[in-house]
């Protein structure tokens, strides 16, 4: 009973995962389930299948092959999906349902094969028994309270390093950028699109000016309030070239950027 309970539970979990994946109610859950479906499930069924012939001796080796073959399977699936349909979220979801179905069917077939009499005298493979015994002694002695506490401390240190880096990058590596562009819209009409983008990290009040004919002839000007990561754009006439546009903070004599249209 114990030998079949775990695989069946896993099968159930995989099916549950597929259901949640399709429902897509939570981003973090989505990612976790996607990782299991893509990088564990396909290889896991293959490893379970080979378990009968005992070609992979340890749990670590089985895990390695399960993940590696899963990644390989995803690559091959990518080629197949590309040839048969397309690589969209829907086709990958369909793919995950097929994988889950294969896991269920494979699990049933393997369980049936397992129920047949063992080929070893005494009912157990002595080699595998020894491996299991050694592993359990080895692992249990490793997992003491002190060791687990130290491992948790190690994980905390690693996470602290990542957190520190993220904070440091967001504080020091952010450049305050205002973009200005002036692009001709079509070859026929003399119309240009003037665009200002704010990437300064906060909402800014900016002044845009448009000059035509000569640089001193101010044609239009705008006072803009633009949120961070947002753009403002407008269509302007480019019929009197050269056209020059500037963007600045409140002091228009010190422009941040200048663009020109000079056909």
């Amino acid at each position: 009973v114990n030998r079949t309970a775990a695989p069946r539970l896993l099968t159930f979990l995989v099916l549950f995962a597929v259901a949640i994946e399709i429902w897509s109610f939570n981003k973090a859950a989505d990612l976790g389930i996607a990782i299991v479906l893509l990088f564990v499930a396909p290889g896991w069924i293959f490893v379970r299948w080979t378990q009968h012939s005992a070609v992979m001796s340890s749990l670590s080796e089985k895990s390695y092959w399960a993940v590696l073959l899963s990644v390989g399977f995803v690559i091959v699936s990518g080629f197949i999906l590309n040839a048969l349909a397309s690589l969209t979220r829907t086709t990958w979801e369909l793919w995950s349902v097929i994988v889950a179905a294969c896991v269920v069917v494979g699990d049933l077939l393997i369980s049936t094969r397992r129920s047949q009499p063992h080929q070893f005298d005494g009912g157990l493979d002595p080699k595998r028994l020894e491996i299991t015994r050694t592993r359990s002694v080895d692992t249990s002695s490793f997992l003491s309270v002190r060791n687990v506490s130290l491992l948790i401390c190690s994980a905390i240190l690693l996470l602290s390093a990542l957190w520190l880096s993220e904070v440091s990058v967001s504080r020091n590596s952010r450049e305050r950028i205002v973009q200005l562009s002036l692009l001709k819209q079509s070859a026929i009409t003399p119309t240009c699109r003037l665009e200002v983008g704010n990437y300064t990290g906060s909402t800014k009040v900016l002044k845009a000016q448009l000059f035509g004919g000569t640089p001193n002839a101010l044609r239009q000007h705008w006072t803009l309030r633009i949120r961070d990561q947002a753009q403002w754009s407008t269509l302007v006439s480019c019929s009197d070239p050269p056209v020059l546009a500037t963007v600045s903070y409140l002091n228009v004599s010190k422009p941040i950027a200048t663009v020109t249209f000079s056909p």
């Binding site: 073959l69 990518g78 973009q179």
Partner: protein
């Protein structure tokens, strides 16, 4: 039974060891591993702290960086060489090493890719996500869509997991990094059957120059590496398998060979070399060895046809892409060899003439040490396995490790040998790390035996073993860091530097590339400095030509420049004004820069100001980067 088990490959008769009084007692599991892991994590924290200091331009960041690296590499070395790690402990460490080294990588750039080549693969992944099909066009790296392993997996995770390409790519690359290292552990364990040698091989492999950064970037080689190792592992399993299991391992080997082939060209060529060498080594044996060699030969032949079929048939662009690289190696190697022979070569280190002196010294020492260890490992290993049929794979592996000499020659002879050799280290060090690990284990073992036979103090013996392991691994790691990636000028993150790879990627050029991708026609020609041009070519979806340096190296727009614009089909010129303010850290401002290596200051301002003239529209500016539309000049010709 001896108190200390002899390293694999040596007969027990070699040793004269005092009998162990507690021969039947189960060895107590060592308790040092959690402390070693804690120390390693502390090392990562120190490195992350040094990065934070460097970003804030605070002093002492460099000192803290090196301290962190010493702790990161030294603590596992001490643990492995002073204890007898059990298999479980070895497995935990073999997984912890790549996880923690990936922590260093992520601490360097935790919120975005920073390596230029990564953005080329981002473009392929973007194309898959937007067009829902493979084999799209890539304006920056045309060969990339024909090796879409990385992008298929990333786009699948991105779509199913609902995350960005960056998040999905970071997860995929991290997983591949762990798979590569753990694959080396399993491979070394399969060949040596000793967890200590296997985990030591992983640790030595982690000192390889590109391990921490280049081999953990979002580039196609990264996903091919675990499959290469998986294929070699399957082949070694095949060699030892019973006749019933051979078909299974052959199928696994071919499956992983296919995944390697469709993921990265060079890795698949290396895979063929590995498979052929191991098959020949196995074929030298007799009886069962020969029968296994037949299966291995079949797998190798099928892999060769797979690689040839893909690279010569389907992905024909691969050869066009690789031809200039091969040509460059041949050309620069012959000229470099002549320079070396005549004594005219200004530098014999692979680091280049501008590298700091301490880096060059560390490089020499580490390369010499690595060569010594690999040579000793190979010689001792080959001698001890000469008469043993069952060790034919070990022989093949040891023979492969000697390819390190070719790599060192390449570094010395070719002018761009440092970069090429750095990339080749990832492959050569797979057998090389095993050979070096074998040598280290043998040296410590022999020293221990000699020490005990002279009845010296055990504590002193321990100190000597710790010192040997610590110094060796830390020296190898320091050598790897100095000749590896990022280059010395970008080793620590910080403010923008011109021509400095990771330090040249900032919001200015990233946002400019984002702007061009949405506002300019895809594939239009652009000329710029090599970093901004590279970004505009990849993220910006423009076509960045290599022979446009002359456009930036004169004060006026001459007919000759107009000719270059027309000939290279340049429609846009992107100018980063910082090229007038700083010298390029890498020695060059542009691709194929005719003045490369001679700059003593930034370019004169009039060299870039010449584009502010009638007939040229300045269509974009953020005050630092300006993009000019030179279509009129191009069509005028």
């Amino acid at each position: 039974v001896t108190a200390v088990e002899p390293p694999s490959g040596l007969t027990r008769a070699t040793f004269r060891v005092q009998p162990n009084k507690h021969r039947h007692a189960r060895p107590k599991p060592s308790t040092g591993l959690p402390w070693a892991l804690l120390a390693m994590s502390f090392g990562v924290l120190l490195v992350a702290f040094s990065f934070a200091l460097s970003r804030a331009s605070e002093p002492h960041a460099n000192l803290l960086f090196w301290t962190g690296q010493v702790v990161l590499y030294g603590s596992p070395a001490v643990f492995i060489l002073t204890r007898h790690p059990t298999k479980t402990e070895s497995i935990v460490l073999a997984i912890a090493i790549p996880v923690l080294s990936y922590g260093v990588n992520q601490s360097y750039s935790p919120i975005q890719f920073r390596f230029l080549d990564a953005f080329q693969h981002v473009q392929t992944a973007q194309a898959i996500l937007s067009q829902h099909h493979l084999f799209t066009t890539n304006t920056s790296l045309p060969v990339s869509p024909y090796f879409p392993g990385l992008e298929i997996v990333t786009s699948a995770l991105s779509q199913l997991g609902g995350v960005s390409i960056y998040t999905a790519g970071t997860i995929v690359v991290g997983m591949c990094h762990v798979l590569t290292s753990f694959g080396i552990f399993l491979l070394a364990y399969e060949i040596w059957r000793r967890p200590k040698i296997a985990v030591l091989a992983v640790l030595i492999y982690s000192t390889e120059p590109h391990y921490q950064f280049f081999d953990s970037y979002f580039i196609y080689e990264v996903i091919a590496m675990p499959f290469l190792i998986g294929c070699v592992l399957a082949l070694t399993k095949l060699a030892k398998a019973s006749s019933q299991s051979r078909l299974l391992w052959s199928a696994i080997a071919l499956f992983t060979a296919f995944a390697t082939t469709v993921s990265h060209h060079i890795t698949s060529f290396v895979l063929v070399g590995f498979l052929a060498t191991l098959t020949v080594a196995q074929g030298v044996g007799r009886g069962e060895n020969r029968r296994a060699a037949v299966w291995m030969g079949a797998v190798t032949l099928l892999t060769v046809s797979l690689v040839a079929g893909w690279d010569l048939g389907f992905a024909r662009g691969a050869l066009q892409y690789l031809a200039p690289v091969a040509d460059s190696v041949t050309r620069t190697s012959s000229s470099g060899a002549q320079q070396l022979a005549s004594g005219n070569r200004s530098h014999t280190s692979g680091l280049g003439p501008s590298a700091p002196k301490p880096d060059v010294l560390i490089d020499y020492f580490a390369t010499g040490l690595l060569l010594l260890l690999i040579t000793l490992g190979a010689l001792w290993g080959l001698r001890s396995t000469r008469s043993r049929q069952k060790n034919s794979l070990r022989r093949g592996c040891l023979a492969l490790s000697l390819s390190i000499y070719g790599l060192v020659l390449l570094r010395l002879a070719a002018s761009d040998g440092s970069e090429l050799a750095g990339r080749a280290y990832a492959f050569v060090m797979i057998p090389g790390a095993m050979s070096a690990a074998f040598a280290m284990e043998l040296i410590t073992h022999r020293a221990r035996i000699a020490w005990r036979n002279r009845r010296r103090s055990r504590s002193l013996e321990r100190i000597v073993a710790i010192s040997f392991g610590f110094v060796t691994i830390v020296a190898l790691a320091a050598g790897g860091i100095t000749i590896g990636w990022p280059e010395y000028y970008a080793r620590l993150p910080g403010p923008y530097l011109v021509g400095a790879w990771e330090r040249s990627i900032d919001s200015h050029n990233l946002l400019a590339a984002q702007w061009t991708s949405t506002n300019l026609p895809q594939g239009a020609g652009v000329a710029s400095d090599w970093v901004t041009g590279g970004l505009l070519g990849s993220l910006g979806h423009l076509s960045n030509d290599t022979d446009t340096a002359s456009l930036f190296l004169s004060p006026k727009i001459t007919p000759a420049l107009e000719h270059v614009i027309a000939q290279q089909q340049v429609r846009y010129i992107a100018v980063d004004k910082r090229i007038t303010e700083q010298i390029p850290q890498s020695g060059t401002f542009f691709k194929n820069d005719p003045l490369g290596g001679t700059y003593t200051s930034g370019l004169p301002y009039q060299f870039i100001n010449k584009f502010n003239t009638a007939g040229i529209s300045k269509i974009f500016s953020d005050g630092t980067i300006s993009i000019y539309d030179v279509t009129n000049i191009g069509t005028k010709k």
